[in-house]
């Protein structure tokens, strides 16, 4: 079962303990090795898997630490960043980084101590390396990990420019990025009891049992106007049992009815990410599906027109926020979504 035969006595003991019992700290070498000795057995106990080659690691090891570890060489300008941003980012984050209801990426510096903190990338972030890392790994939202190193530098530069941290004619490279000091650089603390299981709590309640409070004052309750904000609560409690649900809104379909089988156009729109920018009945970033349906329904060639817009993107029909091309959506899905929109998005 075990391949190795040159283990130290300590490692052998640790291995036996690990086999014999849980929890496993007994196998933790820190407890069984002395200073200066290797932390773990020099030979794997099981040897499953395969060695990771430097090339394989390089392809996946994309994280960037605040000290610059992992940040590749490269450069990008604010101007270049603006071009990429307008094409791929502004539809969600707003032309000036004010956001279209997504997390804003600019503004709010100096508001965190007040009663109405404005939480943005600019007001919260402590290290520009984290911004670079996140854009590189997770943006654009619907096509992550598709930007080049230069584009990531350029976008980082442009976001920093939107936050008044770089001039419009600036170019950002590795050294310049690491030299930046962000406004909230010292805004974080690790002086709390939440990092370890034995950490010291910051509240000290006492388990009093009788006559614990002289007065109990109601400080907050659900306002009557919000009664139906989460739908009809009567339909959110099990149908059988000693408690019913409070009727807070008009009844939906009859009890026991099952959801319709198979995805419809609305479900496909959700599944393909269209609902990130389009609401069914309300404008988010782009127009609502019902607005679109209202404009195009009955028009000659409407289905082909809308399908082409989904494929290739567009700008101008509903304002100056461009819709990025969506070539990744399957042909059949495009057809079903467009038909659903033209049918009134019901």
């Amino acid at each position: 079962m075990f391949r190795c035969c040159r283990r130290s006595v300590a490692a052998a003991v640790a291995a036996v303990l690990a086999l014999a019992a849980t929890p496993l700290p007994a196998a933790a070498p820190a407890a069984t090795t002395s200073a200066g000795s290797p932390a773990t057995p020099s030979t794997p106990r099981f040897g499953f898997g395969k060695p990771a080659t430097p090339q394989e690691i390089a392809g996946w090891d994309i994280d960037v630490r605040p000290d610059g570890t992992g940040l590749p060489p490269g450069r990008g300008s604010v101007a270049q960043g603006q071009r990429v941003y307008d094409e791929k980012c502004a539809s969600c984050h707003g032309t000036f980084g004010e956001s279209n209801d997504y997390m804003a990426i600019a503004g709010g510096v100096g508001t965190l101590a007040g009663d109405a903190p404005i939480r943005t990338t600019g007001s919260k972030l402590n290290h520009a390396t984290t911004l670079w890392d996140y854009i590189n790994r997770a943006m654009p939202f619907n096509a992550p990990k598709t930007l080049t190193v230069e584009e990531v530098y350029a976008l980082t530069a442009y976001v920093l420019h939107l936050n008044d941290l770089l001039p419009a004619d600036a170019t950002l490279d590795r050294d310049a990025l690491l030299a930046l000091r962000l406004p909230n650089r010292d805004g974080f603390t690790q002086d709390h009891g939440f990092m370890t299981r034995s950490g010291r709590p910051d509240t000290r309640n006492v388990a009093c049992m009788t006559n614990c409070a002289a007065e109990v004052r109601l400080s907050s309750e659900m306002p009557e106007h919000a009664r139906d904000a989460h739908g009809n609560l009567a339909e959110q409690v099990r149908d059988v049992g000693p408690l019913a649900g409070a009727k807070t809104a008009a009844a939906a379909p009859a009890r026991g009815s099952l959801p319709a089988a198979g995805p419809d156009g609305g479900e496909l729109a959700k599944g393909n990410g269209c609902t990130a920018c389009h609401g069914t009945a309300s404008k988010i970033v782009g127009p609502s599906f019902r607005e679109i349906g209202g404009r195009y329904a009955g028009a000659a060639g409407a289905e082909a027109t809308l399908a082409a817009k989904v494929r290739s993107g567009g700008v101008g029909a509903w304002g100056q926020v461009p819709m990025p091309p969506q070539p990744q959506v399957k042909e059949a899905d495009v057809t079903a979504i467009v038909q659903w929109i033209l049918g009134g998005a019901r």
């Binding site: 070498p29 939440f194 309750e221 990130a276």
Partner: protein, 439 residues
Amino acid sequence: MSSNRRPRRIVPAPEHPLAAPSSGRRGFLRRAAALSGGALAGGAGVAAAGAELARNLPPNVPEWSRTLGAPILASPYGVPSRFEANVRRRESPGLTRTPHSSVSFTPLQSLFGIVTPSGLHFERHHAGMPEVDPHQHRLMIHGMVRAPRIYSMEDLMRFPSVSRVHFIECGANTGMEWANVAVPTVQYTHGMLACSEWTGVPLSTLLDEAGYDRKARFVLAEGADGAGLTRTVSMAMALDDVLVVYGQNGEMLRPEQGYPLRLLVPGVQGVSSVKWLRRLEVGDQPWNTREESLHYVDLMPGGKHRQYTWIQEAKSVITTPSGGQVILDRGYHEITGLAWSGRGKVKRVDVSTDGGRNWRTARLQEPVHTKALTRFRLDWTWDGGPALLQSRCMDDTGYVQPTYRQLRAVRGTRSIYHNNAIQTWRVDPSGEVSNVQVL
């Protein structure tokens, strides 16, 4: 809500309607109407409802006793009864702008015991739910290790495995309630919470295999989703009880829960239990990732953020009766709920029905697991009057779940994360239960 709403009563099933006293026929019809939710009006409708209800009741033989049922494999993987359609995950309207970076909540009000059915485990995705082919999924371990390795699922499932019961609670659970009541039911106040039996490999096994450097202090975990979500885990926890899991409640992980592989960091806020786990990097500093600097940091009065606030402190909530429910009759009711602590085991849960003036100690369902949901129960006789229900958890460190007053005194109301305050449900004389806060 409004106190003039009349109590609704549990109406006994109309057994033996034909043998009832002379006034019984009319009484039976009224009861039948009540049972059908009062939706039908008029004599014909009531009569029809009565006949419909009586058809399957004694002394009549129910229709399902007189017919052949569905064959086996009618549903090869089984689904809940269609009468359970109300029990499902839900989203809180307006909470997020896109369903791809959003959350759905577990219906805690409808669950029994401590195990969350896998299909009801709350969802939290940061860039949607990827569909990962297990044959092409790999886990890479590198960094401060002597021998960086790559594992297939086949490799990982070959290691000695363990199964443990642990809760996962999102750090933002109850985050909408810091300043005031915001949502109506326990599904929305506490439903970013679930508990499963997880099966996988202790992370310590994999770290030993790779030969980690003893100067290492942290491990970075990274997901294979579009977000490439990354979180820093302390080496102390990694060597203690962190698991690399592929099993959940006897089956493989659900796609929503990271199929085919996720990290499971017991007692720590859910985001650290990285789903679709693809990479572990051993290092000597925390990574300050986006999910550790722009999000999942706790804003304190004065403007500083607490960073790396990992532990989920002791917390509890009554799930029955709870907000949005209606108690149908006076008399005996079981008050029941869930308690948990990220520092260890639940030691005791006390329950108050008068807003925290007086408390009684609840029964705990055994066995009590460490860093797991623990079911508590207390007998209660509702006299039809107003009541304020609270539960208060104490864990085996002696820590007692705080009140809102105590929590806000230290952390204000803007921190979003780690709200473990005592929850209050108000019982109205009408029987309706609602979400309130008391000071």
